[in-house]
């Protein structure tokens, strides 16, 4: 056997290491074994997750839109299960969780954590009382207080939260979501999830049965939760309510009201609507089919669905004509005799009687189609497309809501793809000029366009969020800067269009005479768009009012309801009158509520569950049980 230096060194090293580890194991397992067994048996050492409170959502006057309310939840501690069959039967009888689901919950990789698993949330208090006796047989089940969301009224912008699902949990693996956590599924709750959520805290529990600290950790690693930020919206609950109440019963459509000065949305109504609170409970099949009926109450008709805009689109075509110099204020185009022959087809004006030769202002006033047919015949399709894009009327506005839809304005390429030709598009073009044919816009895009007209050509991104409240709050600009830009319109162009819109509502013969607002000047445009959904036209009305300065833009859109002036106009009129009638109260800024007034961060420190969890636990006294609260690695 060789006795060279390397073997000698290695043997010594091996011997030393062996003895060292043997000694350490002896100390740990033989000398201190009992002590550690006691710690292990009672599960003294845990990391408990301290949930952050989700930020609430308020309207512009700090009135609630979505708030947190207390709830009762049922948790499962899988490590304590003794008889999984009996547990399965119990859960099946009282909560409709079958054996298979339970098996998945206990044995699935995702749930392999010592964190308690949230089985059922939002349990009615009566059920909690009724079951509390029986719960003694199931030490693995525990009722705990938590919070749930309450939405104050049915709407499409707030969205709703829901339990995090497997895909989301995987996707946001690095963002410290709890398996039991909630995540914004839709609307503002989804869009501003990062702001609303906050950061969960951690607490290290290491006390023995007598409450003495075990002192296993050198540093106390506990971390306080940082509560989520609350959102203050531009929405005005009163106006929202009024618009919602004045929506024709049973009709489908949308109303958008926005503030001209800021671009903030004041009312956001899409009908038929749904109550977001239904998503806070398990949804029954009947309710589900009710939500998916043909009228699509889940569909947000303001920004997730695009429609042919009809005549409300005419200002876009008009501005292109004015900007390129093809027409000026006084140019008279082809005489309207109830239509215009383009190629070998006769394109009808809505009025079979005809309007004669008109200028731009009159054409807008009476909504003469022939004027625009003639105008666009002098414009190249791709130029018109470029201009529509520049007006921001067919692209996403960038409102702070998820899944906003694009509008559509075709160009030569589009037709090439669709029809296989890029010539002989005169007829298609004529339809585009009056917002028919392939053009699609969302009510929100139209609203934003008219707000820009009222602002003399200054486009401001529509938005709902005005500011955030809470510890570590962010300014609106820090959250996301609002895009503002000037549209490619000269002052003259804007004036012409404004005059046209004024004439619609105020000059004799205007299509928008339904508008009659005391104390303000109304501007607007009607639209009755033919569509593929039905024989009856979509009714559009988009208008704005000016007192001593521009105030609000109101867009009313009704699916297959008839003519814009007759059906949508009166609704618009009621909203405008309501606004002007209560101008004082709308304009008066609300005082910041007391809980947000102080800038000192101490204000928002309260935690969701300040009471000891033991208070809500089933009364099964067992040493150390009060340690077992919501926790995760």
């Amino acid at each position: 056997m060789n006795k060279s230096i390397p073997t000698l060194v290695s043997r010594i090293a091996l011997g030393v290491l062996f003895l060292f580890l043997l000694g350490a194991l002896f100390r740990l397992q033989v000398i201190k074994g009992d002590e550690y067994r006691r710690i292990a048996e009672s599960n003294f050492v845990r990391i408990r997750r301290v949930s952050a409170t989700r930020g609430e959502i308020y309207d512009s006057k700090y009135r609630p839109v979505a708030i947190n309310i207390p709830s009762h939840n049922l948790y499962l501690i899988s490590g304590k299960i003794t008889n999984i069959k009996a547990l399965g039967l119990f859960l099946n009888v009282y909560f409709g969780i079958n054996q298979e689901e339970l098996h998945d919950l206990v044995f699935q990789q995702r749930f392999k954590t010592y964190e308690e698993i949230l089985l059922v949330d939002n349990i009615p208090y009566e059920t909690v009382l009724a079951l509390s006796e029986r719960m003694n047989y199931y030490p693995e089940l525990v009722f705990r207080n938590g919070t749930t969301r309450q939405y104050l009224y049915p709407n499409h912008f707030s969205g709703y939260v829901g339990r995090i699902n497997e895909a989301e949990f995987k996707r946001y693996r690095d963002e410290d979501y709890s398996l039991n956590g909630y995540i914004g599924k839709n609307g503002l709750e989804k869009y501003y999830e990062v702001l609303l959520r906050g950061t969960d805290g951690r607490e290290i529990l290491q006390v023995d049965a007598r409450g003495k600290s075990l002192d296993l950790f050198r540093v106390d690693g506990s971390r306080d939760p940082l509560n989520g930020l609350s959102l203050v919206l531009s929405i005005d609950n009163d106006l929202q309510q009024f618009a919602s109440d004045n929506f024709p019963v049973g009709a489908r459509g949308a109303i958008v009201v926005s503030d001209i000065k800021t671009g903030g949305i004041l009312a956001y109504v899409s009908k038929p609507d749904y109550d977001p609170n239904v998503f806070m409970q398990k949804i029954s099949p009947e309710l589900w089919s009710q939500l998916n009926r043909p009228e699509k109450p889940l569909l947000d008709r303001v920004c997730q669905s695009a429609y042919p805009p009809g005549s409300v689109f005419k200002p876009v075509t008009a501005s292109e004509g004015l900007e390129t110099g093809i027409i000026n204020r006084n140019t008279l185009l082809a005489s309207c005799t109830g239509g215009l022959k383009i190629g070998n087809r006769f394109y009808k004006c809505w009025s079979s009687g005809g309007h004669g030769r008109t200028s731009i202002v009159d054409a807008l006033k009476v909504s003469c189609d022939v004027f625009f047919y003639d105008l666009i015949s002098r414009i190249k399709l791709d130029d018109a497309w470029r201009h529509a894009k520049a007006c921001g009327v067919v692209d996403r506005t960038g409102i702070d809501l998820p899944s906003e839809r694009n509008g559509l304005y075709p160009n030569t390429q589009w037709y090439q793809k669709r029809l296989g030709r890029s010539t002989g598009l005169q007829g298609y073009k004529a339809n585009l000029s009056i917002g028919q044919g392939e053009v699609l816009t969302t009510p929100l895009q139209i609203n934003t366009l008219y707000a820009a007209i009222a602002r003399d050509g200054y486009w401001i991104q529509p938005h709902l969020l005005v500011k955030t409240l809470g510890k570590g709050r962010l300014d609106r600009e820090q959250v996301q800067p609002i895009v503002k830009r000037r549209l490619p319109w000269s002052a003259n162009t804007v004036k012409c269009i404004q005059d046209g819109l004024w004439a619609v509502c105020n000059a004799p013969g205007g299509t928008g005479r339904a508008l009659n607002v005391a104390g303000a000047t109304a501007y607007g445009k009607t639209g009755s768009a033919e569509n593929a959904l039905g024989k009856v036209t979509h009714a559009w009305f988009c208008g704005y009012i000016v007192t001593d300065k521009p105030e609000i833009v109101v867009t009313v859109f009704l699916e297959n309801a008839g003519g814009g002036g007759a059906v949508a106009g009166p609704i618009c009129n009621r909203i405008m009158n309501y606004y002007v009638g209560n101008l004082e109260s709308f304009k008066k800024p609300a005082p910041v509520p007391a809980q947000f007034r102080s800038l000192a961060p101490v204000d928002r420190e309260e935690v969701t569950e300040p009471e000891t969890p033991a208070a809500t636990e089933s009364p099964a006294p067992e040493p150390g049980q009060h340690m077992e609260t919501q926790s995760e690695d």
Binding site: L21, L25, Q29, G79, D633
Partner: protein, 405 residues
């Protein structure tokens, strides 16, 4: 070629015992018992398949003619370096870029880099025409390349393995000890740079030791200046690191700094091992395991499951088998006469021994380090395969005894 008479049955049997113990441990570690109900994840039979593959690979290696074996080391080493570069561009898993995954299998290039680097270094520094200085320089240079790539991933545990393997190989190459002192000195300088007193004491000690071995004044001056420079530059370099980078290094060296992460795992592991007491809680009965206090206890923390279920008796048995195994490896190193093979065996010995003792030490809370698996026992296909192949290389060398020199 396979030679039944020269084949080292002792080493092979010890290796087999370790692998079997690993499969058993993984079976219990991936079983969750709740009431009478228990469910086992499929880790254990995957590990058995890998064990089969690993044993097959050893047999193939033994059949491989020596000249071919000698030829493939260089291309494999280069390919491995390329893999180490490419792995940096994979998406991060838990904040580090370590794995290639395809078809549900994960390959960690830093695992195979250990073996190929050791073989490569042994090849280079055993060349007869090199003087001692060149041996050291070539050795350090060769190891530095994969080490730097692995630091970027980042994976500090594996880089430490490289350092120890290199030291051991240099000792086996019988370079004078002061070279090793010079090599280690920058590391000590980095550590001592935390306090001025430590720097002064360390430098004085260094110069004293170098004077004792009668090194030339020029060499001592250069060594001194380099070390002073390193001690001076360290704080600057350290402050240049981002917060999370600093934290990562500090947490590696002292997991208890992070009580919500690594520190918590070590405490739970200690509780698990300690609560096993003398005879353990019994097969599949580990309560800490069943409550899932330790996530992923079939990998780095598998020793805690063994300690909990088989107690002091079981963990000592495992420790004993490991010691016998290493003792046999040390003897094998002494029996191998070809210089290159001797040096390679020393590297393999050091890398397996280092990982074993660091991992067990971590599991019982006496060694502050994380992220190093237990050879042959922890779950992980590429890990098992490479460790087994490393032993296979030693078996092959033993098998070739007497053919040359």
């Amino acid at each position: 070629m396979f030679n039944r008479k020269k084949f080292d049955w002792n080493l092979a049997v010890l290796l087999l015992i370790l692998i079997c113990m690993g499969c058993v441990a993984i079976f219990t570690a991936s079983t969750t018992t709740i009431g009478q109900h228990s469910s086992t994840e499929n880790h254990w039979w995957k590990q058995i398949i890998f064990a089969g593959i690993a044993i097959g690979a050893i047999l193939l290696l033994l059949k491989l003619p020596m000249p071919i074996f000698d030829i493939v080391v260089l291309p494999l080493f280069l390919a491995n370096l390329l893999a180490l570069v490419l792995v940096l561009f994979t998406p991060a898993v838990n904040g580090s870029h370590r794995w290639f995954s395809f078809l549900g299998l994960n390959y960690q290039p830093s695992e195979s880099a250990k073996l190929f680097t050791i073989l490569m270094v042994a090849r280079i520094i055993s060349k007869d025409h090199l003087n001692k200085l060149k041996q050291v320089l070539y050795g350090v240079g060769l190891v530095l390349v994969p080490m730097l790539l692995i630091i970027i991933e980042p994976d500090f545990g594996t880089t430490l393995v490289f350092m120890f393997a290199l030291l051991s190989m240099l000792v086996a190459a019988e370079v004078p000890l002061f070279y090793i002192l010079l090599m280690v000195s920058p590391v000590v300088s980095i550590m001592s740079s935390l306090s001025w007193v430590a720097v002064v004491i360390w430098l004085a000690l260094l110069v004293f030791l170098l004077l004792r071995v009668r090194l030339s004044w020029v060499a001592i001056t250069i060594a001194g200046i380099v070390n002073v420079f390193i001690a001076l530059i360290m704080p600057v370099f350290w402050n240049g690191l981002k917060d999370y980078q600093q934290n990562r290094i500090l947490t590696f060296m002292d997991p208890m700094r992070d009580p919500l992460g690594a520190g918590y795992q070590i405490i739970q592991s200690k509780i698990a091992v300690g609560s096993g007491a003398i005879i353990g809680k019994g097969w599949l009965q580990g309560t800490q395991k069943n409550m899932n206090f330790l996530p992923e206890h079939h990998t780095d923390f598998i020793f805690s499951v063994i300690g909990e279920e088989f107690g002091f008796v079981g963990s000592t048995l495992l420790l004993f088998v490991f010691t016998l195994f290493f003792l046999r490896l040390i003897n094998a190193m002494g029996e191998i006469k070809v210089k290159e093979r001797k040096i390679a065996s020393a590297g393999i010995l050091a890398y397996l021994m280092f990982q074993t003792f660091i991992n067990i030490g971590m599991n019982i809370g006496v060694v502050p380090a994380t992220g190093i698996p237990l050879p042959f026992i922890s779950y992980g296909g590429s890990n098992l395969l490479i460790n087994a192949l490393a032993v296979g290389v030693v078996l092959k060398y033993l098998n070739e005894r007497g053919f040359m020199k």
